[in-house]
Amino acid sequence: MESSRRDFLATAATAAGAAATGNLAHAQEQDHDHVHQAVPSDLTLRVKSLESLLVEKGLVDPATLDALVDAFEHKLGPRNGARVIARAWADPAYKKRLLADATTAIAEFGFTDAHGARMVAVENTPKVRNLIVCTLCSCYPWPVLGLPPVWYKSAAYRSRSVIDPRGVLHEFGEELAEDVEVRVWDSTAEVRYIVLPERPAGSEKLNEQELAALVTRDAMIGVRKVTLSQSGGAA
């Protein structure tokens, strides 16, 4: 059994290599891999083998997998959330709707329909800071932020954010004043949170599009403030 598996994996590796040479979009990444390792990693082989099996059994469609990867890499992401935040800053009526019922207010952008995952927006003020975490796994608001970064899923962040949120903010370079109230939102159910950060001073003349360019992923998780100097940082 073991030798037949090895044979199969060798075949899968060859197939993977062949597929990669025909795929210009992934050529750069393949080159990058080759710098560090002469043979594909074990996980590369095992996932390739799993995909091959599930496709053969008709359980998944390779075109669906391609569409999913494309969506994760190019369609979802914090630019969507940034548009929501910018609108809330620019339009007081929208901000009111967002804070009252974020699920419906976010659906206005068409990222989701009215029956999408339950969303809640929490507002930062000079005296209130919000921080989002999932201590049990990696729950994160995909429709507005895309997939979470590695640090958000790390043991360090998951463990510390609830017991020492001020220490976490310190690690992100900020000393929080004692009179600021910290609210940590642990995403234990199918409810997803997004932080509405404070609009930075000096942004009064910016339009919605310019405002959106200031809003970062980290600000919508709550670990950083939005400042005028950052741009496109949500990527």
Binding site: R46, L53, L65, L136, G146, W151, R158, V191
Partner: protein, 219 residues
């Protein structure tokens, strides 16, 4: 299950390692792994709670040592064998058993974007009376189930206040083991940092958890 995945409040996990301009995936296999899991969730034999539970069943030392997507690989392969979608022999060989029938994929490519835009919907459109009301004081029950639960250890036995009723949701503890939806209300419950962590915490701070009726009792 009082597993190592239940990390809230643990200490000495090291600094938060931040990567600037982080790519969505760090290797092609991570992207394929993530997509495979999403595509497989479309099968009624799987559900999100069962997927989380299967990852929680990874032995603690492995869970901590593995990368995030290595745990997903272990979780997905374990679950599809458990649920009879593939056999362990097929997983081992990478090829379908001789004579096995071929299914039609549950998730079509043109449904990917609407599905992802929706996110995970855990609500149930049924009328269930809430057991608690907004501004009520409650205590998180001291439960230590062997199976899956979304009540973190750090909140058990602690007093909080209900600040919002999110509506009716499927109950993860039963859904993870395919023992029914058991639909019930989920509330946002505010626990002061002092209630959870004692005098070392700021008197101003609070932690909010989303908790089901079955996790709560009147204070």
């Amino acid at each position: 299950m009082n597993g190592v995945h239940d990390m809230g409040g643990m200490q000495d996990m090291g600094p938060i390692e931040y990567e600037k301009n982080e790519p969505v995936f760090h290797a092609r296999w991570e992207a394929r792994m993530r997509a495979l899991a999403q595509a497989m969730w479309a099968w009624p034999q799987l559900n999100i709670d069962a997927s989380r539970y299967q990852i929680e069943l990874i032995p603690p030392v492995e869970y901590l040592r593995n990368s995030y997507y290595e745990n997903w690989f272990a979780g997905l392969t374990g679950l599809i064998v458990k649920r009879g979608l593939v056999t362990s022999a097929e997983l081992e060989s990478g090829v379908p058993a001789a004579g096995s029938s071929k299914a039609t994929p549950a998730l079509a490519a043109d449904r990917v974007l609407p599905l992802l835009a929706r996110g995970i919907v855990g609500t149930r459109d049924v009328r269930v009376a809430p057991q608690f009301k907004v501004s009520q004081r409650v205590r998180a029950r001291n439960l230590n189930p062997n199976g899956h639960t979304r009540l973190p250890r750090y909140a058990r036995g602690k007093m909080g206040t209900i600040i919002r009723d999110h509506g009716v949701f499927v109950f993860p503890d039963t859904n993870a083991e395919f023992q029914g939806d058991k639909p019930q209300h989920v509330y946002s419950v505010r626990f002061t940092a002092r209630e959870l962590w004692g005098e070392q915490a700021s008197p101003r701070d609070a932690v909010y958890l989303d908790l089901w009726d079955d996790y709560l009792e009147p204070a």
